[in-house]
């Protein structure tokens, strides 16, 4: 029997058959029915070690364990903080998830994280009801003071970061801004040239399909920052 070979980088729509073979396993955003594997979403096929994954081209952020995200505190409860992480489910930061020991009877929890403040945090676990639990005990997590918040489509985040973080490190270097990118599509910027960074981020979101975008962005930044 002739083997079916799956081509990477193929465009698929929901319900489209990717391959009819039991040699492959369905990974993210695809499902098996009978012998065939079908796509669940609009996206691009990637094959690695006989596992087929579909990388989506649109959609909202669904949290996964280990993701570094930026969230806004929206509520304070006796056992922790409710955090909006730009997803269909709000996340929860329990008291045990922060570095210091806090007794909620003796201390005001708003003095640690108040409503309206932003934090850079890590998703530690996701329970059966898909509620994400956050942690501030990991390396890199912190409260974001000052700066500005920008929202872009979560599927465009890999493009903002670039290969081996080439794009984001170039923007940081050129504009001398502090930038933190959350996987949920929220970006925090602080520094001198904030407005030019925001312009560039919007350009990346709009023209994410263009190749050689890093060079285009670097040229634009050179012009803008000189002014």
């Amino acid at each position: 029997m002739k083997k079916d070979i799956v081509k990477s980088r193929k465009f698929v729509i929901p319900g489209q058959k990717i391959v009819e073979s039991i040699e492959y396993l369905p990974g993210k955003n695809c499902y098996r029915e009978g012998n065939a594997i079908y796509s669940k979403r609009v996206g691009i096929v990637y094959v690695k070690d006989h596992v087929i994954n579909v990388v989506p081209l649109s959609g909202i952020y669904i949290p996964e364990r280990g993701d570094m995200v930026i969230g806004e505190i929206i509520d304070i409860q006796p056992s922790g903080w409710v955090v909006n992480i730009n997803s269909s489910y709000s996340a929860f930061l329990p008291l045990g998830g922060i570095r210091q020991f806090v007794d909620p009877i003796k201390t005001d929890m708003a003095s640690i994280y108040n409503i309206g403040e932003f934090i850079y945090t890590k998703v530690s676990i996701i329970n059966t009801l898909k509620v994400a639990y956050l942690t501030m005990r990991e390396q890199g997590t912190k409260k974001l003071v000052g700066g500005r918040i920008v929202k872009i489509s979560p599927v465009k985040i890999p493009r903002v970061i670039g290969k081996n973080a080439s794009m984001i490190s170039m923007i940081k270097e050129k504009t001398e801004c502090k930038i933190i990118v959350g996987k949920n599509g929220i970006i925090w910027i602080d520094g001198k040239n904030v407005s030019s960074v925001i312009n560039v981020l919007k350009l990346i979101e709009e023209k994410s399909h263009i190749s050689g975008l890093t060079e285009i962005v670097s040229k634009i930044l050179e012009k803008e920052v000189k002014k």
Partner: protein
């Protein structure tokens, strides 16, 4: 035999499909069959309030079908009516089997369909637009949903009736169909027809849906395919 507007019996009206027409929505689509036009917007999956409506094992799909006041020659009173409530429900039932609702427990997916121009077959136009909008919103689906109406005029089977033909046809039978799954998700019928004819009308409508599937695929490609070139 040529039809009133010069089409062949099994020819669709001139069809236009666009994806991503509403920027603020998570996904959106516009579909036009001749003079019937619908815009659909999808929001979600998002948290559902009040919380007692949440289902712990799946998402709740909510569809709203509404006609713009200016969509026909006579003004349509805004707000829900007996007719629009029914069509909202059949649209929901037509779309539900296509979505992996169990992937998004405790949430809701909102689908809003607005008819901006009506010339018969608006429910099928609305379902096509909603299918495009759901795919654009990145919601996990089994398949796209295509819909078209079929009927019988002067002993000949016809598809995609316009409002003049709707008055003289022996029956009006809208169908929603998932072409890859090969499942019918909506079937309604006005008028009287022998059993054998009904089977033939359904077959004709399914062929129309298959043609629409290719068009939906093309519309989605137009928006997204640039991303594959890199």
């Amino acid at each position: 035999m040529k039809r009133i507007d010069g089409r062949e019996p099994l020819e669709l009206r001139d069809v236009e499909m666009k994806v991503g027409v509403i920027k603020n929505a998570d996904g959106s689509g516009m579909v036009r069959f001749g003079k019937s036009q619908a815009i659909a917007a999808v929001y979600g999956p998002k948290e559902l309030h009040p919380r007692h409506l949440q289902k712990f094992d799946r998402a709740v799909l909510r569809c709203v079908y509404s006609m713009a006041p200016f969509c026909t020659t006579e003004r349509v009173k805004p707000g829900p009516s007996r007719r629009s409530t029914e069509i909202s429900k059949v649209t929901r039932l037509a779309l539900e089997p296509a979505i992996f609702l169990e992937e998004y427990p405790m949430t809701t997916i909102d689908v809003y369909i607005l008819i901006t121009q009506a010339d018969a077959g608006t429910r099928t136009v609305g379902i096509n637009a909603a299918s495009l909008a759901l795919a654009d919103a990145g919601i996990s689906m089994h398949d796209l949903v295509c819909a078209v109406a079929a009927g019988k005029i002067n002993n000949e089977y016809v598809i995609d009736l316009n409002s003049e033909e709707e008055k003289i046809t022996a029956c009006d039978l809208p169908i929603a169909y998932m072409p890859m799954e090969k499942k019918i998700t909506l079937i309604q019928m006005d008028g009287l027809l022998p059993k054998k004819d009904v089977e033939n009308v359904i077959k004709v409508a399914i062929n129309g849906c298959k043609a629409l599937y290719e068009m939906q695929k093309k519309a989605l490609k137009e928006k997204f395919v640039e991303d594959t070139i890199e």
